[in-house]
Amino acid sequence: MSDDLYRELILDHYRHPSNFGHLKAPTGKYRDSNSNCGDVIQMEVRVENGKIEDVMFTGVGCAVCIASASLLTENVKGKNVEKVLEMGEPDVLALLGLKSITPERAKCAMLPLKVLKMSLLQEQKQA
């Protein structure tokens, strides 16, 4: 299974992540880390009329974590906030092209979605 993790899709997004950087005028922003591993992800979103207009991320992490953030940000742009809040592990695995993942690596893969959701919730609270 492990060898699967390092296919071109993931390695490409790790080396050249999409949407890496900061947003000009984010409406929501959140940062979190995985305990015991050192992965840190920050998401910045701009939501307009319940839609994700733009999203960017920064952070450090392993290939799975960074690729997940990169693929996720590509995927959610233009989506309704509700739809994104409904996303879960199967969606992230599908984006990564993985059938399954071990629990420790799942934490890496899922951190970006977790942080994204929190940034959206924060956005809503402020609105």
């Binding site: 880390s33 995985n34 305990s35 071990t102 629990p103």
Partner: protein, 412 residues
């Protein structure tokens, strides 16, 4: 009757200890309230961990460490469900004592102020008495102690009186390790909550012996020990209501319980990890989970009714002896399988020692419950306690042993 004994024979075969001879005699183990024996299933689960996946948890990416982490978290879910809790509401501790101290240090230090009232009872084990006494002393709070009746029940009036003081915390035991008394945890918890206090339950003597659900009872915290319920030593648990655990400051600090530490700044980890500093007792958790499976396979209702039967039988024989004083309620609906007693003019040590020559293991002393001893004006008591592997033969051996005590000390 016969059915029970066959059951017990079958159970005993799972416990290697019963092939031991005690002073050359068959071991009659009547000290499970101190610590229970372990079935081969638990022993093997611990050994399997050592031999097949021993590694540290939560931090390893290699296969073996993932397996260990999974096994540790599966154990948490399994044990949590056994007591009616969610996995994230179960903190692993060394034993019930540490669990109670955790509440006193973390919740207590953060919430108790000068002049506040903390309530405990005369029936408590030192582990559910001293942490509150120290907390009270440190915070200049008042420790109020609910009385017990001559029969050995919590005194309802005394409880009411203490609740009227508007306490912050009420800590009481579900089942007494000396008197055997089983308190109506659910009823008391409701009154405690109505009085606006936090309800801390000591489940050390109830979780091993009867169905217990924290959700059903409605307590805020509950402590228990693995070694009293067929599990290994060095592992126990604290149930805490999620919102409370969330809001509490950590207790021990170190590895595993943080998200980020920089020289200037610290972020604590999520519940329950926030309370599990350092390398946990992984093999202990796995062993305890196996113990829970064993108890589940017997059914906690069976465990309770089996012990009730033995206790009723033992009490019926013991009350006939005029030179034997039995403490605690005589109604088996109100009590568990713990019988404390004294033989007139004979110190409890001597009772225990003479029973040992017959292969019978009981405990003697104050049972870490000196306030109970004071209440009955006795320095010590002998105590026999039953569990799943005991049967009527064991009760009869106990009674015969007491006869020998009386002979040696020429008690009429």
């Amino acid at each position: 009757m016969v059915e029970t004994s066959e059951n017990v024979q079958k159970i005993r075969r799972d416990f290697p200890i019963f092939s031991r001879l005690e002073n050359g005699k068959r071991l009659v183990y009547l000290d499970s309230a101190a610590t229970s024996q372990r079935p081969v299933q638990v022993i093997n689960a611990v050994r399997r961990f050592y031999e097949q996946m021993n590694s540290n948890v939560h931090r390893g990416l290699y296969e073996m460490s993932e397996e260990a982490t999974q096994a540790y978290e599966d154990a948490r879910s399994n044990i949590a469900s056994f007591i009616g809790a969610k996995p994230e509401e179960l903190v692993f501790t060394r034993n019930a004592t540490e669990a109670l101290n955790l509440v006193a240090y973390s919740w207590g230090r953060a919430n108790v102020r000068e002049g506040d009232v903390i309530v405990t009872t005369e029936m408590e084990h030192h582990s559910n008495f001293l942490p509150w006494k120290l907390l009270a002393t440190e915070k200049n709070a008042k420790l109020e102690v609910v009385k017990i009746t001559d029969e050995g029940l919590l005194d309802e009036d005394s409880l009411d009186e203490k609740l009227k003081l508007g306490p912050k915390i009420v800590a009481f035991t579900h089942a007494s390790n000396v008197l055997g008394t089983i308190n109506d945890a659910k009823g008391i918890a409701k009154r405690v909550k109505d009085a606006g206090a936090i309800c801390v339950l000591d489940g050390a003597q109830s979780v091993p012996h009867m169905p217990v659900s924290v959700k059903e009872i409605g307590c805020d915290f509950m402590a228990f020990s693995g070694h009293k319920m067929l599990g290994p030593m060095g592992i126990g648990g604290l149930y805490g209501r999620y919102e409370l655990l969330e809001a509490m400051p950590p207790f021990l600090t170190g590895g595993e319980m943080i998200k980020e530490v920089h020289i200037g700044e610290v972020n604590w980890n999520d519940v329950p990890y926030k309370f599990e500093a350092g390398t946990p007792n992984v093999e202990g958790a796995i062993g305890l989970s196996e113990a829970v499976n064993y108890l589940r396979s017997l059914g906690m209702d069976w465990v309770r009714s089996h012990e009730k039967e033995l206790t009723a039988y033992a009490l019926s024989l013991m009350v006939k002896e005029s030179s034997v004083q039995v403490y605690g309620p005589l109604d088996v609906e109100k009590r568990g399988g713990v019988i404390s007693f004294n033989v007139d003019g004979v110190h409890a040590h001597d009772v225990a020692q003479i029973l040992d020559t017959e292969g019978i293991a009981i405990r003697s002393g104050h049972h870490c419950a000196m306030p109970v001893m004071d209440r009955y004006g006795i320095p010590a008591a002998a105590r026999a306690s039953f569990y799943i592997y005991n049967d009527k033969e064991d009760v009869e051996a106990l009674i015969k042993g007491i006869e020998k005590v009386k002979r040696v000390f020429s008690v009429e």
